[in-house]
């Protein structure tokens, strides 16, 4: 496989072919690897950050707050307190003598000034080492101010991003069950695992409302503390995204008996299926819901398909590579590319489980490379080997694609277009089309041989 791959990583890469599927994953990155992964704090911050009327205070040195200051386009329809960067900015003397007093003062000052509905206090690596009692400070401030002040046990070294999701879910669970649920309809859900990037949760909420389903709480895109407090009044948890909020759904099922289902809003098939499954769940009590849902899907598809067709014609047979954070998103992307006529040559994730990769194996074509916890060298060698037309990834993947002369679509938190829902499929097709069909690649060395006039002009120089 070439020198760009660690021997130890061999088992985290699978090429779909004659060999039966077998892959290692869900393990810590090799020390010394240039991994694309992040930490526990990052996972927690990602999940909780979109709660817009909460105070988010990072207890640690300045970096953790600086690097997570308003970098994700998790839109809010109202308050925007989440977009400010609050940090205790721990200094050497705090590391020696402890930062509890500073934390207390910071919380009191911020709560007095901004009157948030609740507060999350994020623990960082250093706090885990110096042993500040976050819980005690939060309890005290909560008693004094009357708002929930919740510690998030997100010390960076305590695992990977997944552990951070879990810590965030535990924090959220402290809110659940503390609100009034009198006026909640029996046909009601919570939307879990959608962060309202580029306004996506608004699209999804509107679908559910058209179906006659009440959405109690957005967890967490465009989220509100009061909604989450009464989210135990919903009849069903609808969970998107690989694992980020699944732990909360499990906790709510255990404690409040609320069932959950995993869904995806990316791509036409998964979007429609998600709506049907929710409709089906409520169809005993609401006999018309399935009809309303069918009509919704029919209307949306009738609008969408003719518009997709022109993109599909251009994109037919082009090749795509996918490297995303969670594998669940990768499933939908594989199907979405198929819908617009493209082949997936590489698919991978930072945090997939064996079950996830087995599913990827099942839905991809022979020859597809499946990879876990990859790095820039590996990724670039795969992209070149497969000669793809587009790479779908996040901020660290983008410049790799561009250096190779490959189109790129940000399907991570820096995306600017809503990619969920039926309209999201259209946006996705448009975005893929605009990068794959852009004439700029003709000037890239990789493509020059296919445009002989350029080659000649280059040689003439």
């Amino acid at each position: 496989m070439g020198s760009t791959i660690f021997e130890e990583r061999d088992r985290q890469i699978h090429r779909k072919g004659d060999e039966p599927f077998s892959m290692d994953c869900d393990m810590p990155s090799l020390a010394g690897a240039v991994s694309q992964r992040a930490c526990v704090f990052c996972g927690s911050r990602v999940v909780l950050y979109p709660i817009a009327d909460a105070l988010h205070l990072v207890h640690g040195p300045i970096g953790c707050a600086a690097y997570t200051w308003d970098i994700r386009g998790a839109l809010s329809s109202g308050p925007e307190l989440h977009r400010l960067s609050f940090s205790t900015d721990l200094q050497e003397k705090d590391v020696i003598f402890g930062g509890e007093k500073k934390l207390y003062q910071a919380l009191i000052e911020l709560i007095n000034r901004h009157s948030p509905k609740g507060a999350f206090v994020y623990s960082t690596c250093i706090v885990g080492i110096i042993g500040d009692d976050l819980g005690a400070v939060c309890r005290r401030v909560s008693e004094e101010t009357g708002i929930p002040v919740i510690p998030v046990q997100s010390e960076g070294f305590k695992g990977n991003k997944r552990a951070g999701y879990n810590a965030a879910c535990k924090a959220l669970f402290e809110l659940v069950g503390t609100g009034v649920i009198d006026d909640i309809s029996p046909v009601s859900i919570n939307i879990l695992g959608d962060f309202n990037l580029a306004g996506e949760i608004w699209i999804i909420r509107e679908y559910f409302e058209r179906m006659g389903v009440q959405v109690v709480a957005n967890i967490t895109g465009d989220g509100r503390i009061d909604d989450i407090k009464r989210s135990h009044g919903a009849s069903l948890n609808v969970v998107q995204c690989s694992g980020s909020t699944i732990d909360l759904a499990i906790m709510m099922e255990r404690q409040y008996g609320i069932p959950f289902m995993r869904v995806s809003y990316f791509g036409v098939e998964d979007m429609a299926e998600s709506l049907y499954r929710v409709a089906n769940f409520f169809s005993d009590g609401d006999t018309d819901i399935m009809d309303r849902t069918r009509e919704l899907v029919r209307n949306e598809l009738a609008q969408l398909y003719p518009l997709l067709e022109k993109y599909r014609k251009d994109l037919m047979g082009k090749k795509a590579a996918i490297y995303v954070g969670g594998a669940f998103k990768a499933f939908s992307l594989v199907k979405a590319f198929r819908l617009i006529g493209m082949d997936v040559a590489l698919v991978g994730s930072q945090t997939g489980t064996e079950e996830d990769y087995r599913e990827l194996y099942d839905i991809t074509d022979p020859g597809t490379i499946i990879v876990d916890d990859s790095n820039p060298l590996e990724l670039s060698s795969f992209l070149q080997e497969k000669d793809v037309d587009i790479f779908v990834g996040g901020v660290k993947e983008r410049p790799i694609a561009y250096k190779l002369g490959v189109g790129f679509c940000d399907h991570n938190h820096e995306r600017k277009e809503a990619l969920e829902g039926f309209v999201g499929m259209l946006n996705f097709a448009r975005e893929v089309h605009s990068t794959v069909m852009s004439p700029v690649w003709r000037f890239s060395p990789r493509r020059i041989s296919q445009h002989s006039s350029y080659e000649l002009s280059l040689k003439a120089v």
Binding site: I5, F6, E8, P28, S29, L30, A31, G32, A33, V34, S35, Q36, R37, A38, C39, V40, C42, G60, P61, I62, G63, C64, Y67, E80, L81, R83, L84, S85, S87, T88, D89, L90, E92, V95, K101, K102, Y104, Q105, E109, R113, H114, T124, C125, I126, G128, I129, I130, G156, F157, G159, P376, L377, K396, P399, I400, Y402, K403, S444, P445, R446
Partner: protein
């Protein structure tokens, strides 16, 4: 509403809001990228490395590689030595860099990992191949800022690599400061124009401003080579550009190898560039710079004089990393502009002293503050408006809330392009800064002009 800043300023002791700095390790990582075939290594949790790489990538729009010790709970309890050892083993086997530049994090600092002894043992056990180097800098995130981290890594380069055995006293060392590759490239160009043999280190040009070639190189062609860094110990002089980022390196080289050093402001604007050029002329013995450079200077002067009417008396709020802010203050004052708020997030009374000295008699009309943040700056602006804001991308919230023209300058710039290609240093850099300031002010004049005063010629 994004503007949640109250006008009334109250004393804050425990809280940082909207910082004007970030932590040490990112500066160390950036400096390391300026060594040829160097892999920066973050000794800590995976998140630090990931955040720094993402942040640098957003600013430079380039792939940024660095490895990490990938701390786990076990490492945090029992020490990260074994992780570093395994890292070095993996790095040299697979990525094969010439140098690994290790920087610590708040985590590894606090648990007290002894990097030199891990490295020494790894060397003895053959994990570090002959002819390869591992250097390290201590960069606790709870001390100083990103600039401190840069400075510490530069010092580490000298402490580990500089020697009196090679090199020539005819060479001049230039530590360019925590600046963009375009500025490092401009320094090299100016040294060439002045006909002096120089060693610029670190040097991220051709590392973080790469042309598109159709292939991905983990170790691009740029960066100061090990041999060049070794030679710095014999050079005749070190010019440290920017006291905060580069003085420690110069001082260290003087005490280790006896190379005298001189600290200059970053060559931003005419006066600071004059000082830099003058320092080089003192070495070469030439009386004046070549005609091409005098012409460049003349063109800046031409622009300044042509447009001075739009600049005089304009009130400016300026923030960012200390060296950049100090140099820009001087440039603004030289054009008759009036810096009224000058802040940095980096701690250091030196910053305040230096800026106040530049302001001279005007310093009583200006609020200068280190260890400040953008929330505070916003409050100041609410209490006394300005005509222009100059600083990194994070100022856009203030600029929007207060509807004030905004020029992006410094690190990071996450929402515009240009800083990757065009220098701020030297006479040519001055022209770029000036163009940007003037055009931004003129855009505002146009926008605000009533129809009868909307003019074609300005």
């Amino acid at each position: 509403m994004l503007d949640m800043t109250p006008k009334e300023v109250s004393e804050r002791s425990a809280l940082r809001i909207n910082p004007a700095k970030t932590c040490q390790p990112i500066g160390a990582m950036y400096a390391s990228l300026g060594i040829h075939r160097c892999l920066p290594h973050s000794h800590g949790s995976q998140g630090c490395c990931s955040y720094h790489r993402s942040h640098l990538t957003r600013h430079y729009k380039e792939p940024v590689v660095a490895s990490t010790s990938s701390f786990t709970e076990g490492a945090a309890v029992f020490g990260g030595g074994p992780n570093l050892r395994q890292s070095l083993n993996n790095i040299f086997q697979v990525y094969n860099p010439d140098v690994v530049a290790v920087h610590t994090t708040c985590l590894s600092e606090t648990i007290g990992d002894d990097i030199p002894s891990v490295v020494r043992k790894a060397r003895e056990d053959g994990i570090i191949p002959d002819g390869k180097f591992v250097i390290h800098a201590n960069t606790p995130s709870y001390v100083g800022s990103n600039v401190t981290g840069f400075s510490n890594m530069v010092k580490a380069m000298i402490d580990y690599l500089s020697s009196r055995e090679f090199g020539s006293s005819k060479d001049v060392n230039v530590i360019p400061g925590y600046v963009d590759p375009a500025d490092m490239r401009e320094i090299k160009r100016m040294l060439g124009e002045l006909n002096v043999s120089g060693i610029v280190f670190p040097d991220t040009s051709d590392v973080l401003d790469l042309p598109m070639t159709g292939s991905y190189e983990m170790f691009p062609k740029g960066g100061t080579t090990i041999e060049q860094i070794m030679k710095t110990g014999s050079s005749g002089l070190t010019i440290s550009l920017g006291a905060f980022a580069s003085e420690a390196g110069g001082a260290s080289l003087e005490s280790k190898c006896g190379v005298p050093f001189k600290v200059l402001d970053l060559p931003v604007g005419v006066h600071a560039t004059d000082m830099f050029v003058k320092s080089i002329l003192e070495i070469t013995g030439e009386i004046r710079p070549p005609a091409s450079m005098i012409d460049d200077r003349g063109r800046v002067m031409d622009l300044m004089t042509d447009m001075q009417g739009y600049l005089y008396g304009k009130k400016v709020a300026l923030y960012g990393d200390p060296d950049q802010v100090i140099a820009m203050t001087d440039f603004l004052v030289s054009m008759g502009m009036r810096p009224v708020y000058v802040i940095t997030g980096t701690p250091g009374k030196r910053f305040e002293d230096r800026v106040n000295r530049i302001l001279g008699n005007d310093s009583s009309n200006c609020l200068v503050k280190a260890s400040a943040d953008l929330f505070y700056l916003h409050q100041l602006i609410k209490n006394g408006p300005v005509d222009l804001i100059i600083g990194n991308t994070y100022g856009k919230y203030i600029a929007r809330a207060e509807d004030i023209p905004f020029v992006r300058y410094g690190f990071p710039i996450l929402d515009r392009v240009g800083h990757g290609f065009f220098p701020t240093f030297g006479y040519r850099g001055a022209m770029r800064i000036l163009t940007s300031i003037i055009n931004t002010l003129l855009d505002r004049v146009d926008r605000d002009a009533p129809e009868e005063r909307f003019e074609l010629v300005m």
